[in-house]
Amino acid sequence: MIQFAFDPATNPLNNNEWSFPLLECIHITGFALSIGTIALVDLRMLGLAMRSQTSAVLAKTLAPWTLVGLAIMLISGPMIFSSDPNMYLHNISFRFKMVALLLAILYHYTVHRWAVYREPASAAGKIVAVLSLGLWVSVVAGGLFIAFF
C-alpha cells in the first residue's frame, strides 16, 4: 500500500475548524458551476431545454464557465485531499471517484465535444448526453460516499 510520509497535523488546513467546511462549500459551488453547465448542454442535446439555439452555440457560450467551475473543483479538491491523504488513498469511494472523474473529464473534452459540435444533431448525440449525465452523477456519488464507506 502506498503511504505518504506526511503528518496531517502539520497541515495548516487542520488547524482551523472552519477551513475544512469552507473548502467543501467552495468545492460544491465549483461543481454546481461545472457540472451544472455541462448538464445544461446535455439537456439541450436531448432536446429538453434552451432549444432556441443549437447545442454548439450553447456549449461555446458556457465553456468558460465550465472551465471556471472545473478549476475551482480541481483546486479545492486536492486541498481537501491534503487534509488526510492516507485516509483518502485507501478509501474505496475516493478511488472510484478519481477514476470516474478522470473518465468524465476525458469524455467531456473528446466524445462529448465531438457530439456537441456535430451538425445536424443525431440520435448518437442523445446517447452521448445521457452518458455524460451518468458519468458526472457518478463523480458526485463517489465524493459523497467517501464519508460513508
Binding site: I28, T29, A49, R51, V57, T61, W65, A147
Partner: protein
C-alpha cells in the same frame, strides 16, 4: 405537543427510522440531494449570471428564464423531497442543530425573494430584454439570489458539522462521523 416531541414522533415513523438505520439508503438520498445541487443549482447560477449580463448573452433573458423555470421546479421538488426524508429521519438531532434552522430561514428568504422580484423581474423579462441596459432591479435580484442560494448551500453543509453540546472534536474526527 411541543415541537421537540413532534420531532421525536416524526423520526420514530417506520420508514424514517429505516432510512436512519440503513447503511445504504441514507447516503443514496444524500447523493440525490447533492446531484440536484449540481444539476439545478447550476441553472440558478447561470440565470443569475445572465441577469448580470455575464453569461448566456446570446440568449434573451426571456429565453433563459422560461427555458429553465420548469426544470428548476422539478429540481426544487426533488430537493425538498430528499430534504424532508433526510431531516425527518434525524428530526430530533436537527431540532437542536442551529445550522438547520439557519438554513430553513434562508429557504424562507427564497420565498421572500420570489415575492419581491417575481412581479417586476422574472415575470417582466421581455421589458428587460427591450431595455438598453439591464435594469438595476434585475441585477439586484440576481445578486440577492446568489447570496441566498450560496448561504443555503453552505448552511446545508454545516449541518453535518454540528456535534451538539459535546466538547469540540478535531475536524478530522468530525468528518469520520457516519
Amino acid at each position: 405537543m411541543s415541537l421537540l416531541s413532534f420531532c421525536q414522533w416524526l423520526q420514530s415513523i417506520g420508514f424514517l427510522s429505516d432510512i436512519r438505520e440503513s447503511a445504504l439508503v441514507y447516503p443514496v438520498i444524500m447523493t440525490t440531494h447533492l446531484s440536484c445541487i449540481a444539476l439545478f443549482g447550476g441553472m440558478i447560477l447561470m440565470t443569475d449570471m445572465r441577469l448580470l449580463g455575464l453569461a448566456l448573452n446570446k440568449y434573451t433573458v426571456t429565453e433563459v428564464v422560461s427555458a429553465l423555470r420548469p426544470w428548476k421546479r422539478v429540481g426544487f421538488c426533488i430537493m425538498i423531497t430528499m430534504g424532508v426524508l433526510l431531516a425527518g429521519s434525524e428530526a430530533e438531532k436537527y431540532y437542536h442543530n442551529p445550522y438547520f434552522w439557519m438554513k430553513m430561514a434562508m429557504l424562507l428568504m427564497v420565498g421572500v425573494h420570489a415575492l419581491i422580484f417575481r412581479p417586476n423581474v422574472y415575470n417582466r423579462t421581455e421589458e428587460i430584454d427591450r431595455a438598453p441596459a439591464i435594469p438595476g432591479r434585475a441585477k439586484a435580484a440576481a445578486v440577492l439570489s446568489l447570496v441566498i442560494w450560496l448561504s443555503v448551500l453552505s448552511l446545508g453543509r454545516l449541518i453535518g458539522y454540528y456535534e451538539g453540546e459535546k466538547p469540540e472534536a478535531p475536524v478530522r474526527a468530525q468528518l469520520q462521523v457516519k
